[in-house]
């Protein structure tokens, strides 16, 4: 997994949450540590879907709780769209 992609994801989430990128550690829990609510969560999901032309099923959203999981979840989907 490329560092560039991780950085891209970090910056994107940081912009939406309006928090400094350095606070977004790979394992910081979105809900417990960063206080993300349903509005921020849907904003992040919609931004990913638009940028990478992927669909994130609703039932998967609660399972993606930190930056590491976002990268792990979205990287394969992103790859598929380029085949």
């Amino acid at each position: 997994m490329s560092k560039n992609y991780e950085e891209e994801i970090r910056n994107m989430v940081s912009d939406i949450l309006e928090i400094p990128a350095e606070k977004l550690t790979p394992d910081a829990d979105f809900f417990r540590d960063l206080n993300i609510d349903s509005l921020k969560a849907i904003e992040i999901v919609a931004a990913f879907e638009k940028k990478y032309r992927i669909i994130i099923p609703e039932q998967d959203i609660p399972k993606i709780r930190n930056l590491r999981q976002v990268v792990e979840y979205t990287a394969p989907l992103k790859k598929e769209t380029h085949i």
Binding site: D37, S38, L39, A41, I42, E43, V45, A46, E49, E58, I61
Partner: protein
Amino acid sequence: MRWDKAKIQSVLPHREPFLFIDEVIEVEGTERIVAATYLREEASYFKGHFPGNPVMPGVLIIEAMAQASVILFSLDRPEVAAGHPDYYLGKVKSEFLAPAYPGDKLIVESRKVKFLDNAAITETVVKVDERVIAKANLIFSIQKK
């Protein structure tokens, strides 16, 4: 398929004088709806906004966009809407391009961006006589009772 006031009120909790959708004139599955709002000269907000120079307040145009978006949400998530949840507008990115006056007919178009059971995003456009007078991206939450 047109919706009259009764059908609109079966979905929206809003009532006069804070109901800003008079009819739904077009439904495109669960992706897009087009609604209409008639700006009546006797509406109370025109009396104070502004005396002698009545203009529809921009926040009420956003309210019309939000109400149209709730109707669209109810088409996409009928099982959630059936529980008559509370809808809370959370974030608005808007642009106003021209004023709306008494007598105007607002055409309010709402398009789905992303809907979940507890949150929704729509892109909305308001037109008067085919001219776009306002645009907004709305994010709202849905709280089950």
